[in-house]
């Protein structure tokens, strides 16, 4: 490729990266501002606490005084529990859809696919009433159980994946007299590490970022997830932008770490849905 075209490709790429990344950088930079410095005009490009003693004082107060450590832990419990459960549910369902014949198979599968398009707002009121009847309000259960049991995307993904594995494995397994559960657990799951990771990460992120269910179901402060806590923080401390932006940074750091270290799985997973869909 000649040089002129290279430049023609790189210039827009660099510009777009700036647009995509700058807001995050700006947030991080502002989290090193003291309260006095946030409203300075013109804004200081280098924040006043940056690389100075007390550089992390906003972080200390947001984590300590404002309890963000606890909220982050809660988010890990909720997102981790949901993602783990979803992996189990979806692989089981995907296995059944891929290899077994039973009455109503097509109808059930079609229902799963069609209900993907139903927005959560349509089902939230009855779901809320159900949680009320079950006495699950103000526990983690309403944040975890629905997303464990509804994994349309994962079910679809694993059905496709299992079908792509040669059927001879099933034949070999059944000659050995392996039951269906052993077949699933010992033969198929070990082959799908990449897919398991993909589904886990995507489910983890979706649950980490969910807002509607936490604000409806959680009362007790120490059960709040970090995303929910951030909105509460926002209405209480809008004037303290340095603290608010610090909270924002803290809420996305865990996800960014997971994303950067495991992005291969995420991107392959997303890409595979597109080419098969």
């Amino acid at each position: 490729m000649n040089k002129r075209i290279k430049i023609l490709v790189y210039i827009p790429l660099v510009l777009v990266s700036i647009v995509m990344i700058f807001p995050f950088l700006w947030m991080v930079m502002n989290s090193f501002n003291s309260s006095a410095n946030v409203f300075s005009i013109p804004p200081k490009i280098v924040p006043d606490l940056f690389l100075k003693p007390g550089m992390f004082s906003n972080y200390v107060s947001v984590l300590g005084e404002f309890n963000f450590g606890r909220y982050t832990l809660n988010s890990f419990i909720v997102a981790g529990g949901s993602a783990l459960g979803q992996v189990v549910t979806c692989t089981l369902a995907g296995f059944a859809f891929a290899f077994m014949d039973f009455k109503g198979k097509n109808i059930i599968f079609a229902t799963i696919l069609v209900t993907i398009m139903v927005p959560v707002q349509v089902t939230i009121i009855p779901e809320f009433l159900l949680m009320m009847k079950l006495n699950w309000l103000d526990t983690y259960a309403p944040l975890i159980v629905p997303s464990v049991l509804i994994g349309s995307f994962g079910t679809f993904m694993f059905k496709e994946f299992f079908e792509s594995i040669p059927k001879t494995m099933i034949d070999a397994g059944s000659i050995d007299g392996a039951g269906s559960f052993r077949m699933y657990f010992n033969l198929y799951l070990p082959q799908s590490h990449a897919q398991l990771a993909t589904l886990f990460i995507i489910a983890f992120m979706n649950n980490w970022n969910d807002l509607l269910r936490p604000i409806l179901y959680i009362n007790t402060e120490k059960l709040q997830t970090v995303t929910m806590a951030l909105t509460q923080f926002q209405s209480q401390y809008t004037a303290k932008w340095n603290l608010l932006l610090t909270g924002g940074v803290l809420s996305i750091i865990p996800l960014l770490i997971i994303y950067i270290s495991l992005q291969r799985f995420i991107i392959q997973g997303i890409a595979s849905t597109g080419t098969k869909g």
């Binding site: 290279k6 089981l92 209900t115 392996a178 039951g179 807002l211």
Partner: protein, 295 residues
């Protein structure tokens, strides 16, 4: 179907495997979809018992000017979103689909906003767009331009929020397009080039048609996705100023959990479901006119 004599699984096995999924479908999908339909015919404020209203909620809805505003906002948001992510997603994918250094880095960078929460994104952008103190305002003013009141001007707020959602999600659609582009056999483009087609012609005659299945998939997903704007609106504008960013999903929330009008809210939710269904059906119906499946 031939009845299997020797099956490797027992008859009840499929149901054991599907048990959690079926519980989920009944309790969190099909059940709620039906019961919210029933609730939409009642007047219920949580405190008192529900009262049967027949079609009154729907009558109120279709005669209320506020509803038409919310409805319009919803469609406008979806339109900006679907067009935005499709066009940007495709452009970014085309840029990245080059055998050049650093493409992995750019791909990761463009995908970063997708993994961050809408609430955090809302906070970042509220700060950047803030009049007087926001960096964008300051830069625009420095350049001698009049910085608009992005989130406070009713004629601009919806557009701003939708654009931020496009910013956040384009990376996702870029990945889908990129996968589609990489699935196109190089030999076909090669053949076109040997036939004397220029770059542009190869693109319009070979790449675009072969990308139509991906484009169709992108449209299907983005239509469904375009209605999921609750988080960003909650974090940025709360439906204001003057209802200008109040969309159906936010209005469902307000009516149900702020005004405590469960019946009316369910009716709104059904309108939402109807629109999503209609647009999706429309997309599928139009599919055979433009999607090309053979290579």
């Amino acid at each position: 179907m031939k009845r299997k004599q020797l099956s490797w699984y027992k008859k009840q096995d499929p149901w054991l495997f599907l048990f959690p999924t079926i519980v989920g479908l009944i309790f969190f999908r099909v059940g709620p979809i039906i019961s919210s339909f029933l609730i939409s015919f009642t007047d219920w404020d949580i405190l008192r018992d529900a009262r049967f209203l027949a079609l009154d909620n729907y009558k109120e809805l279709f005669t209320s000017s506020a509803f038409y505003q919310v409805f319009g906002n919803t469609l406008a948001f979806s339109f900006i979103y679907v067009c935005g992510v499709t066009i940007f997603g495709l452009l970014l994918a085309l840029l990245l689909n080059q055998k050049l250094k650093g493409m992995k880095f750019f791909r990761s960078a463009f995908y970063t906003p997708v993994v961050t929460s809408a609430v955090a994104v809302g906070i970042i952008w509220t700060w950047i767009l803030s009049p007087k103190y926001g960096i964008l305002t300051i830069v625009l003013t420095k350049m001698g331009l009049d910085s608009p009141y992005w989130l406070g001007d009713p004629s601009l707020a919806l557009f701003t929020v939708a654009l931020i959602q496009v910013w956040k999600m384009s990376g996702y659609y870029m990945i889908l397009f990129l996968a589609g582009l990489q699935n196109i056999p190089e030999s076909l483009k090669e053949a076109a080039r040997i036939d004397g087609a220029g770059k542009f012609k190869t693109f319009t005659k070979i790449t675009l048609p072969l990308l139509t299945p991906t484009t169709f998939f992108v449209l299907s997903i983005s239509i469904i996705d375009s209605f999921k704007n609750f988080e960003l609106i909650y974090a940025m504008t709360r439906g204001g100023p003057q209802n200008s960013t109040n969309t159906l999903v936010y209005d469902v929330y307000l009516n149900a959990f702020v005004y405590y009008r469960m019946g009316y809210s369910s009716a709104l939710a059904y309108v939402l479901l109807f629109i999503v269904g209609l647009l999706t059906a429309f997309n599928f119906y139009g599919k055979k006119r433009w999607v090309q499946y053979q290579y």
